[in-house]
Amino acid sequence: MSSLPADMGDAAGVGASGTIGGEVDNTGNRPGRREPLVLGMDTFGEVTRTVCRVTEAKRPPMAWYIAFVISVGLVGLLGFCVLYLIFTGVGVWGLNNPVMWAFDITNFVFWIGIGHAGTLISAILFLFRQKWRTGINRFAEAMTIFAVMCAGIFPAIHVGRVWVVYWLFPIPNQMEMWPQFRSPLLWDVFAVSTYFTVSLLFWFAGMVPDLATLRDRATTKFRQFAYGVFALGWRGSNRHWHRYERAYLLLAALSTPLVLSVHSVVSFDFATSQLPGWHTTIFPPYFVAGAIFSGFAMVVTLAVPAREMFGLKNLITLRHLDNMNKVILVTGCMVGYAYGMEFFIAWYSGAIYEKFAFINRAFGQYWWAYWIMVSCNVITPQLFWFKAIRTSIPLMFVLSLVVNVGMWFERYVIIVTSLANDFLPSSWDMFIPTWVDIGTMIGAFGLFFTLFLLFCRFLPMIAMAEVKAVMPQADPHHGEHGHGEAASEEKGSHA
């Protein structure tokens, strides 16, 4: 243990032992010793400079431009497909009589699910005092908001007559009609709009101190004004910080139930119906686990290139990525359990329709979708048991993409296979997507990445103020030579 005092040094990266694939390895979990979450930085100023450089650089990196051009092109595709749908009618999708929901609701559930990781990181991990969340929470929350925006498109356009989409809301109207309050589709409207509002407030409230930092560093009048307006006159006084911390805690408490409730309500869209394959009580927890699973995969998908592109490897470290991969592994196992339990109950319930629905899922006309789902969501994430894979940047990136694909297929399998073969064999049919279905799906990814790239370029991508608070320098006893150092040595060796 003689090397400990040196290891405990500062956030300067000396605490980390060795490297993995050229990255500082701070993934260790030795008792009595906390691996640094911020590498290679001695002062708060360095954190500020590293994060602000992304928005203050004259030009973003070339890779940003390439990604942005592609994404905006896909937004154009989305716009075209949506307008074509609106002007022509929902018949341009491949929907048919038994399969009345397919790509639209698949995409909706997929995107809503993606958002859940952001809320889990920002709210639940905050309440559990998980310090590593500070490196990733800001852009995970941004991801939540953009994902919910993408999700919101699909229910809005799948109604057919888009111009009366406000009928979703219970507003007194000339028809003297109300939405069906007993329908989970209406609960969905409330759940998703609440989720979006709270997530946006949480994201913005957390960003105020960092926006003030950008305002104070701004060199042009326009930047001063723009960041100044959104910083809401933040001066960093004690009173400001006190109120900010209270507000943040309250918003975290408000968001925490949403992590569980929103996707539960989404699952009710299916679970409260009578359709075999949908009508199951496991759906709410199964959907929530799946949402967090897919959401964390998306955070990894975004974090890996973002830290590379903008030079944030010292703030989003291997430890952050390793932790997220562990969450993916755990939630992946939960999802696998749910898949297994669905089959077990289908057999154990003795309901022949239920049994048929599941055998048909695995071996019917959509067998390929089912097995893509199982291999992507259950089998592949098991690789994350190996630390070498959890800490390999290229491998985790590929695996996160695989999980994204798998979770998209999970929703597709649940929705389409159950609808295509219901109680009445004479009405069975097969869903085949049209180019508009596929274009809208790809276009939504374009919208998501466009918003994310704009966020990276213009807003503080990492919560600077919060990251600083988890650095050793934030400890009041930090740097107390002699007694303080000795005391922490003591602690270290006793632990």
């Binding site: 406000y166 507003i171 007194p172 109207n173 000339q174 028809m175 003297e176 009609m177 305002r215 104070d216 701004a218 060199t219 001063q224 004004f225 960041y227 100044g228 307006v229 006159g233």
Partner: protein
């Protein structure tokens, strides 16, 4: 380095912003509820017709029955707009030289119909049957207003779904004997007692349905 500060006067905006934030959602609801309603958007629609035909003169002063021109209402779902030939039944004799009838004469000669502008429009997705209503004692005036007093016809009722339902949910006050259907001045509330109106309900076997598929077939 100078940094952006909110100027002092911006404090004055704060109460306004809070008030706007509180009131805007209410205003939006109000706006949709009343602004999007056919009561606001459609009632009172009064286009200029190609011929200055006066219902006030024909149906009012002259006392012509609605069914002389709109002759299909008792048998068909659609209330026919008469062909030019119907006008000429009389106007070959009465004021054939009137300048107001130039278009009508032209149409009669060429056989090209007059392009009347339709006022009472229902959505393509709503089914309405004139015969079903007219033969059960729902007066023309209930939906079309005092046509006999209109120089130029306008839409007097909203024709919204809620407005249809008002009557389907409670038809008695709007019923009259079938013989009085085209009588614009007939006011059932003065002419009939409650018992008589209930009698009409039974007599005409009226069970107004409120199912979606009654109108949206």
């Amino acid at each position: 380095m100078s940094r952006f500060l909110f100027p002092k006067w911006s404090n004055l905006l704060l109460p306004g912003l809070i008030a706007a934030g509180a009131v805007m959602p209410l205003y939006a609801v109000f706006f949709v509820a009343y602004g999007f309603s056919p009561k606001t958007l459609d009632a009172g629609y009064q286009p200029v017709q190609p011929v200055p035909f006066s219902h006030a003169l024909h149906a009012g002063q002259l006392g012509m029955d609605c069914r002389y021109c709109h002759n299909t209402v008792e048998d068909a779902s659609h209330a026919a707009v008469p062909p030019t030939q119907t006008c000429m039944n009389c106007h070959t004799q009465i004021r054939p030289e009137s300048p107001k009838l130039v278009e009508v004469q032209e149409s009669y000669r060429t056989g090209k119909p007059i392009e009347w502008i339709r006022i009472h429009k229902l959505g393509d997705y709503s089914y309405f049957n004139h015969a079903a209503h007219v033969n059960r004692g729902v007066g023309c005036v209930s939906c079309h207003g005092r046509i006999d007093q209109m120089e130029v016809v306008y839409q007097s009722q909203p024709l919204s779904m809620g407005w249809c339902l008002d009557c389907h949910r409670n038809p008695e006050p709007h019923l009259r004997p079938v013989s009085e259907v085209t009588n614009m001045a007939y006011q059932p509330e003065f002419e009939l007692t409650d018992t008589e109106r209930e009698g009409l309900l039974a007599k005409y076997d009226i069970h107004p349905s409120e199912n979606c598929s009654t109108c949206h077939r």
